[in-house]
Amino acid sequence: MDSRWRVVCSSSTDEIIMLPKTAIITGGTRGIGRGIVDRFHKDGWNIVTCSRGQRPKDLNEKIIWEQADVGKINDTDRVIEKTISTFGVIDLLVNNAGIQVEKNIMDSTDDDWDLVIGANCRGVFNMCRASLEHMTKTGGSIVNISSISANASDPSMALYNASKSFVNGLTRSIATDHGPTIRCNAVCPGWVMTEMADVVFELASNPDVAKKDALSRHPVGRFGKPEDIANMVAWLASDESGYVSGQLFTVDGGLTAASPINPGLF
């Protein structure tokens, strides 16, 4: 059976009915989050998404959007209340919202800490704790969007790297504490390029060399796209992954399988 459906028995007519499953996807306005939202919408799910900014104009009207900062408990509670009052259930929670500040630890301010740890750690905690109140009664799946920088560091991203290691640790804890009702996994994307990619290369001293260098570090010969990550999330949300829990899945085009010493580049 297609795992997008929730099968229920109607209390009034005793009929078996199939309802679309419901997903909360945080940070769904752009980039990876938007890719996940679009994928699950295409697959027929009920979707609630949120972000700090404005509702994107091109977001399908069936998708419920709430303005919310996941680092603020009142905001996350509101997102979850909205989901329950609309759909009555949370089948899937995707914690995608995240913030990146490009600084080493010495340059990081208290405000940077509040921003990065607030969204990436507190935000995931807020969403998981409140969602589990409901999900532990009905069963469901949580997918956290982590990063390859949880395991190996990107320079001058101290708080971001650390926050993603927190996500990996919490993922295992939720899987351990709340199985078998809840499955919890994390996806660790590598370099996922959106329209930003070309801008980044335009800024390089030699855009052609920079692009060739970056591509040759990826065994699959291209950068990641939001759909690549959405594909993994879709699988982790499906019954195909029914025996998968507590794991971290790297989707990076082979970047971290390869040594940084790539003599072909020198």
Binding site: A152, S153, D154, P155, A214, A258, L265
Partner: protein
């Protein structure tokens, strides 16, 4: 006066006249151990050998007969073995398509079967050493390449992954007997093997590019240099010593921070 860390211990180091093996032998001698250096020739992979006080054993680790003979010699002369370092190894610089079956089998014969045979035949002597409640130590050679791949080193990467798994298996099986088993996983270390990699066809560093390649390799490391055999010997010495009596079943990456960072694109 500084205490010597390995006084009274008997050690066998395979590949003991090679780049890293020789540094380990020298360090063990300095720490007061009796050291048997096993290798194919007295010079090993280097051009010459200056006598350092180790006892040379001619040994091809792929031959069970030679391994058995070597351990019989140590049994006769010492009656026990406290430390085994499986440092003998070879590296075929090819992709799987370029690698012949003979080269593949040789890689596994030296790097994996050699570790298996030497460890297997050392166990009876190490149990004798362990009887006195002294912890004995086997140190295998894994590699950074057992975790992530360098280009054109397919068989080598595979053998080192096998050594990592074998290390954990041996640690589980023989820990209760007082035998600790760990693997050291070096990154880029200045040895004849590394020079061969630089000169190899796959490296792109032939001819005039080799200095540029070396500089680039140093530069990509977090600490801006590659390692020396002595750096590796420092860790092997610690793992061999009683300081490490609670350390077992682990893979110890020693790579100047190389694998701590996500590889950086040159923008």
């Amino acid at each position: 006066m500084l205490m010597k860390m390995l006084s009274g211990k008997i050690a066998l180091v395979t590949g003991g006249r090679g780049g890293i093996g020789r540094a380990i032998v020298n360090r063990f001698l300095k720490e007061g151990a009796t050291v048997y250096a096993a290798d194919l020739t007295p010079e090993g992979s280097l051009d010459s050998h200056k006598e350092n006080g180790s006892i040379f054993i001619k040994l091809d680790v792929t031959s069970e007969k030679e391994v058995s003979t070597a351990l019989s010699k140590i049994e006769k002369e010492e009656g026990k073995l406290d430390i085994l370092v499986n440092a003998a190894g070879i590296e075929i610089e090819k992709t799987i398509e370029q690698t012949s079956l003979e080269e593949w089998n040789l890689s596994f014969a030296v790097n994996v079967t050699g570790t298996f045979l030497t460890s297997k035949h050392s166990l009876p002597l190490m149990r004798k050493a362990a009887k006195n409640k002294v912890s004995t130590s086997i140190i295998n050679f894994g590699s950074y390449d057992g975790f992530i791949a360098d280009p054109g080193l397919a068989a080598y990467c595979a053998t080192k992954g096998a050594v990592h798994a074998l290390t954990r298996a041996m640690a589980c099986d023989h820990g209760p007997e007082g035998i600790r088993v760990n693997a050291v996983c070096p990154g880029y270390v200045d040895t004849p093997m590394l020079q061969s990699f630089f000169n190899g066809e796959g490296s792109g560093g032939q001819g005039q590019n080799i200095e540029k390649l070396k500089e680039a390799v140093r530069d990509v490391h977090v600490i801006k240099t590659y390692g020396t055999p002595d750096d590796i010997a420092n860790l092997v010495n610690w793992l061999a010593s009683d300081e490490a009596r609670y350390a077992s079943g682990q893979l110890w990456i020693l790579d100047g921070g190389l694998s701590a960072q996500v590889q950086q694109m040159k923008l």
